[in-house]
Symmetry: D4
Subunit: 229 residues, 8 copies
């Protein structure tokens, strides 16, 4: 067949100046890429230690390819996330709080939490505070009131963001997860619940999109000194 795949520009046009332009670096979405392609991108990234690059939705083979090119990259296998350089920047701006309704929501909640950290914010993660036992979230009202933004990860009924938004003046980022079965429809039920939150102040990202929730939280909590944080 007529050859098509040659060097990097045949498979990717990296947007490495995104940090300069938008204030936040590009992330590499690994799903749907071959490990070989991800490895070539990682090699290119090596030239730019001034930019923090995240590799998201990386399975074991993607991770191996990244680590071959960037052996000291940080790696969280549960969250499917790698970061290089490995150390997150010193935090600036306001506090990000990430809540996970149940233990099963932890991988997605961690993806959000770590993304916010690597994009420069302080972040706290609290697990297993679903509405079936209200006392658990009520015990965190003080923390919620200190937050500049709250990310709430929940699957199944996705009811937690509605409750949290009623307890704080901070904006709430609803992060529906695919936890559940049957009529949970892989996260659609939770997504719809959050879109219809009866308390205002909730917006929603894609199902299981911890990266997007963390990124948005970092933007909302960014320091307001006129320059990108």
């Amino acid at each position: 067949m007529p050859d098509l795949v040659g060097d990097l520009q045949d498979i990717a046009e990296l947007d490495l100046d995104r940090t300069a332009r938008r204030g936040y670096p590009e992330a590499v979405f690994c799903a749907g890429k071959t490990p070989e392609q991800v490895g070539r991108i990682a090699a290119a990234v090596r030239e730019r230690p001034d930019v923090t690059t995240l590799f998201t939705r990386a399975d074991d083979q993607h991770a191996a390819a990244v680590l071959a090119a960037l052996p000291d990259a940080a790696h969280d296998p549960d969250a499917g996330l790698l970061a290089w350089p490995p150390a997150p920047p010193d935090p600036t701006g306001g506090l990000v709080v990430v809540l996970a309704a149940g233990t099963s929501d932890l991988p997605v909640a961690r993806e959000a939490h770590l993304t916010a950290r690597y994009l420069g914010r302080e972040s706290e993660l609290v697990v297993d505070v679903g509405v079936a036992g209200l006392h658990r979230v009520l015990a965190r009202v003080d923390l919620l009131r200190r937050a500049r933004v709250v990310v709430v990860a929940a699957g199944m009924d996705g009811a937690l963001p509605s409750v949290v938004a009623g307890l704080t003046s901070a904006p709430v980022v609803g992060l529906p997860t695919s936890v559940g079965y049957g009529a949970a429809f892989g996260g659609i039920a939770a997504l719809l619940t959050m879109l219809n939150a009866c308390a205002p102040g909730v917006s929603v990202v894609n199902i299981d999109n911890g990266y997007g929730a963390g990124h948005l939280a970092a933007q909302i909590a960014a320091p307001q000194d006129g320059v990108p944080s």
Copy 2:
């Protein structure tokens, strides 16, 4: 055209002995019937004052047809409900509590509340206790704990049943309403939330089915003396 519609048996086969067989009378579902058909059924019902008959989902024309045949029938236009004979029976069994998350859920909640009353139960209705202001439902915990069954009507995010089920040992009947717009999808969002309630003890009836919720609540709260209440 060859004539088909003659007398009652050409349009309906009333199940007037349902009370004897099942313990609860048949209800007449008016939607999709012509006022003339509903009127003919009402006329037949007049022969059986020993059975309480409910006419559900009755619009103004249906109601007029029923009232022409049964002038003293009770009528709640908001709930689209008529009952004959007009007086509900003396209550037996346990307490039914009906909660409405918002004012807009009131017509459906009233349909449930009145159905439970006409099928022989004591019932209390509480309005506007949605999760956006948790203090409102927390203030009713005592009432919830006295209930033999709780019907919870909610539209939009449909989150209230999950919260209520975490606060009481009584079974919760989730009653999703079509209140909302956009991704509320006419009650589907609330329906899915309730089906996925993270607290066990919740089951669900059809969207806007106040009649079904009230009927079920009456069955759950029925006196347990071996004879139908």
Copy 3:
């Protein structure tokens, strides 16, 4: 990466006092948790033999982790259920009857049946009484009339609850299963059928949610004021 997972409170906030608060213990939903997490929860449970803990939706690896911590736990692999302590309590309250429309609905029906047993009710399970051969369910009318509540598990057309509700005054818990293919849509067809049951007295739980159905049945059939309801 910044370490996040430490001891139990980092992954779960057990609601072990739920029995005191609500009258029913918390269950551990294993799907989406790692075996290691489930194992740590099981170890914590060991401290509380006064509470019956159920582990639901446990696959083989989850089960192994639970059994490592609680070697004498009861285990039903088909239903994906484990219970500890292993002996169900002496039954109180009314009779729960669980019907399965076909043999393929058995795992879900067993999950409901065992849950009701472990939450303290007497329960009877009847299999393969679908509406394609009506004589099979008609032969059980006496049993249905002795029931305080009937759980009906069915996939495909999900028609059995409508028929059962017409034959008994007990409330019917519709339990749609994912049995079927094509336009069964993993249980959606059966779910919709049950939500639209033309006989009143049917409410519905999530697809394949045997645990929820059994829990609800136990609540409906609970003893009232110390005497069997």
Copy 4:
């Protein structure tokens, strides 16, 4: 604007020889046509009294336009059906039985029943025999066993065809109706139920498609080689 609509061939290409080719005449689907267009088609039909033409889904304005061109056409306003010439042919072939689960299903059931009659079959219509009161359909087993084909119209849960198919060796044509509300989804729930009928021998036509069901029933019950099948 450049003129486009002139005479009949600009709006329709009637297939008046379909009877010769397929054995059944073309029907005119009025929905989406202007009354004026339907009137022009009716005028053309007048030339062909040897063919029975049905006008389906005709609202009041369509009907007026047909009756202006064919004053003696038969008209059933509930079913939205007109026929010309007005007298149905003498019946040949086997018996068609049409069942309607509830009174609200009557318009669609009548469309099926009349179509079968106009296409040359004997047909019987039975109303209000839904599964909530099984004794009603069980009382018709003899009739069902005399049928060459059974059309079963049902909305809401759509459970009746499954039950009927278990009681007769005749093929069952499931005719879902849009009767219901909420999660009935305008007939989708009934449609899915019938597609998943646990008893074999059921096939399905479009929601509210009484014409299609009656046409198919006429074909199934057609005489074979000149003698009644």
Copy 5:
């Protein structure tokens, strides 16, 4: 755990007299049953060589279990079908024609074809006559006109039944298959096409339900001598 699974009546209530009652034998739906359960049913079937039993949707393990109990059963692995006794009955009644739009539809089409044969009809199978090359189906018009009923299996656009129904007076059973990808939605696209066939005379069975299509075709083409064929 309290033991539940004992002998056959704990897992199945075989409807072996269905042939006497309905004229057609019960089939065993293997999906969702364990091989062990299917094997126990097969052993029970062995007692009744007077009834032809079909095992549908059997994977390799199900087939092995059936063949262990009934070593001479006929087996078509592509169609997932087994039959015992292995020889189909001598054909009676009219001709069944089964068309497959493409080669990929062959397994489902074979399931229909073989079911019709085992239920006592003559059947012809024609493959790869989709509408992209109309000459292929036009070349079979004579065969179509000899058919008492035509089963048309098609995936993707599912357009073939509409075309076939315009060419024959026989009823058409639309058999949508899950062949396709993307917006074929596992057969939903084909299913909807067939439900909306612009030519009357088409009814539809579930996606990939070759068994149901073949069963229905056998009923439609049954001999009309008053006794079940």
Copy 6:
């Protein structure tokens, strides 16, 4: 309230140079605009007689507002289309053929046909050639082979594009219409059929988007002399 609506730039930013940039003028989508807003846009258009402006999806009130500003505009009420200046340009490029499967598809087919004419192409419209009577489309094979592009409007089963694409080498633009009811789902069934056309060479525009189909056809059939036609 703080006033917001002032002059034209507060409600629209007309892209009147689109013809220069893209070769085709902007069209004004009237649905969702107030007649007053459409009228103000029409008044602005009057300054630019060098550009042909189309107003699409105009109801009677929109049309009145346009005609008040541009009294000599051409208007096709069925298609909801207005054009100014009223005369279409002299045709250049290849032939556009627009087929409508049924009479009910005519408004949408006319929108496509007129759009192609106003964007500078020769166009022929043929009506009522659906697949239920194949001889009708087969009789147009010569016309189809002269076409540079064929637009095929069809509702219900949407099967006509698959058949047409098998008969010509020209690209086919599938134009699904909302004609139908029940499981036609307002054109979704036809849309899916066309997306899954088993004959290659079919692409699809939005349901009822006659404007988009006509625009695309004009682009495909554009003269190839290096300058926009």
Copy 7:
């Protein structure tokens, strides 16, 4: 019927202290309430001029009822919004920018814009800058870079938020509108586009939920001095 509707507490439990608790006042959702109910709420609001109350989704009758109780309330009929007291507070915090992709999105965009103003922010509204003519949004890059948050209202393809998010470091609130037809599915297409925005930094509110978008924008742009703005 037993009377149920008495004074205000029977229909609503106003959360007038929400401002103190959350920093933002409660809004009254008028859809689904009777004008009479809305009027009674408005009368109660009159006692609290210290709180700004918004009435959302108010039709003409709702508005008349509000204005009867609060004659000097501000009213924007297009946006279905009323506010009392009528003057918005002096703006504090950062700049909110609201973009509308087309003129038809204006009512929803205005609802967002006015909500942000009444909750205390400076807001700018820009109309008709959809991606079909990129120069329009590119001409606003300076404004976008001054924004603390950008609300982007778009129907049809909903593509504008993805483009805007690539041009600014501010968080983007996607506000899908129901503008469009056919496969726009009343805003679902735009909603899905925004949920899947390939540029991070986009979150989404419900379809046509201008109120929610404006509320969230006000929270994100709130002044950061430790006290609610």
Copy 8:
């Protein structure tokens, strides 16, 4: 079982004269066929070196079967495509440009690109020019303006075709891919975006249907000399 599978005509009716009839050869859709079936078709193809045959959606086993029969066939494993004879024809007609929004869209984009090449067109492929970094597509405006047709492959938000159509007068073929997760719904989100493109000139093929997009592009860009290219 009665034997059914014999020689080629039992599994396929090749349409090898499609090139003569339509100007383009038939392609073999491998998904759903057994490798053995594909191999037998490949063997038949060997007799016709005058026709270019494509094998699409071929997995490794399909490819091995084709290569066994046609050892010199060209094979692109990523795109799942094989071609025989292996050399594409000399290009005629206009230029096809294929854009891929992200690296993950490459396999589908290559399928389109190669199909256009094998059907006789010049084609250029450009990768990773999604709208999150607009400068990337703006840098290709010159290439876009030289194209006779542009194929745009995109997953997730599918926004790129709307942007491209606003920049060129060439028709745009939207090619949605299944890249993404959650509410991307396997490409449905991108499909809907493209169907609702606010810029006219976009039509859409099935999700991941690179073959269909390339085929259509070849037809649109075909030389216009009156004979099929």
